[in-house]
Amino acid sequence: MNAWLRRIGGYAIASAVLLAGWQLLSMAIGSQALPGPIPALSDFGRLFFSDLLPHAGISAWRVVASMTIGAAIATPLGLSIGRSPRVDAIAAPLVFLTYPVPKVVFLPVLLVLLGIGNLPKIALITLIVFFQILVTARDAARGIPASAVLSVRSLGATRWQVFRHVVVPAALPDIFTALRISTGTAIAVLFFSETVAGSEGLGYYIIDAWSRIAYSEMFAGIISMAMLGVVLYELLEVAEARVCRWTRVER
């Protein structure tokens, strides 16, 4: 409980510092395009239930769906690649060739193929998260100590049992780290894809407010997007603490 209080307190102090900096910056610049936190927050409160929450809900569902699908495919695939030198010999060059390609460039193609609804956005974010998790899972699987595998094999474990008891749990902390890092990329790509097509989601809301020159509403949208990121990050943190409880014990 104490840890929770400290955590919330940390967020409170960090928010206060950010808000103060924001206030100072907006006063220094003195432009309509950068309103101070007070009008932005009052719009945030006024529009929270009517506009922001529905848009945020759609955005959240897009990101969560993408990250879930991406991780669900990339984790087993990456682990298998990392565990098998033969598969790795073919798969690794393939991954290295495709990983640095910025996947956002495929958004126009996805829009043509999949329309302007949820599908192209989820596909794009999934693609990006997929590669980040794939590379992490492969490296994690390669780094598993041989002795852990040997001792479980000596007990008569099958390949599948080695996977279940050794490879997957050993890689999980790394997978969670990659997921937490990819929330940032995922939300950035979400914003981009929502501004390009469709009329739903926080990205759309922000760009719509911008075109209406409703800058404090725009910042209410930006605050919502930031909060979406924080909530996702914290949820992953909580999930990791539960799933990887053993990493929290120290001697």
Binding site: P145, S147, A148, L150, S151, V152, R153, S154, L155, G156, A157, Q161, H165, V166, P169, A170, L172, C244, R245, W246, V249, E250, R251
Partner: protein, 262 residues
């Protein structure tokens, strides 16, 4: 029955650019219920031999028999304890101890009973829910033993199991290993770097020669297991004898290179 018979065994590793013979023409007989210790200079293939005995490494030539059967894959009642104990940090103490049983499809309630007994015997009962990361080195080693006991192993293969421990804990665990062997009379193959440990825990001590590994000599050690053996003149004599044999195999070559004392 777990008599071990190694006949003309050869194992080669694929190294960088060339193949490295780890064992060549290795032959060894270990009687059922006999504890032996294996000692030799670094790179003499001791660990390779253990992996082959565990059925984890294919032989290039020759064969390994345990209880009269050729070993090609891990055997049901063989337990292998590696230097870092082979514990899984993500599983609780009880779960680690139960892993062998689980892998072999033993049902959960039997697992619980057997594991509780093994943990109790090794003084780990109150740590059943802890993770290996919360245990001391000596306790981790006892947990690895508990896993072997839970399997009811009749052949215990140990690769420098105590080398990561401090001197006092090590001696404590040497006594524990001896005590367990005296109760259970399993076949035991202990690979060690420590001359004293080999003499304390091996009824015979096998000295191996380096690259490719084979048996250089075997020292009989009939006093092993006697009360207070560690303090006897016979114990010291065996140690001195082993030290000479090891020097002949080049185990202390670094010291002579530096012009040091042999």
């Amino acid at each position: 029955m777990a008599a071990v018979s190694v006949r003309d065994l050869a194992v080669t590793y694929a190294g960088v650019g060339r193949d490295v013979p780890a064992l060549s023409g290795m032959s060894l007989e270990v009687g059922d219920g006999e504890p032996i210790a294996i000692i030799g200079p670094s790179g003499c293939g001791k660990s390779t031999l253990l992996l082959a005995l565990a059925g984890l490494l294919p032989a290039d030539a020759g064969e390994v028999l345990v209880g009269g059967e050729a070993i090609a894959r891990p055997r049901r009642r063989t337990a292998l304890i590696l230097q870092d104990f082979g514990l899984l940090p993500w599983k609780s103490v009880a779960h680690n101890a139960a892993l062998g049983l689980e892998v072999r499809g033993v049902d959960a309630s039997t697992r619980r009973t057997v594991v509780a007994e093994a943990l109790e015997r090794l003084g780990l009962a109150e740590f059943a829910e802890a993770y290996p990361g919360e245990l001391s080195g000596g306790m981790r080693q006892r947990l690895a033993l508990a896993r072997a006991l839970a399997l009811d192993a009749d052949l215990l293969l140990m690769d420098e199991p105590l080398s990561a421990l401090d001197a006092l804990t090590r001696e404590d665990l040497q006594n524990l290993l001896l005590g367990i062997w005296q109760q259970r009379r399993h076949t035991s193959v202990l690979v060690t770097h420590s001359i004293e440990e080999a003499v304390f825990l091996g009824r015979r001590v096998v000295v191996m020669s380096p690259r490719p590994g084979r048996v250089a000599s075997i020292v009989d050690n009939p006093g092993m297991g006697e009360e207070g053996y560690r303090e006897t003149a016979a114990f010291l004599e065996r140690c001195v004898e082993l030290r000479r044999l090891l020097a002949a195999e080049g185990a202390f070559r670094d010291a002579t290179l530096a012009g040091g004392v042999r």
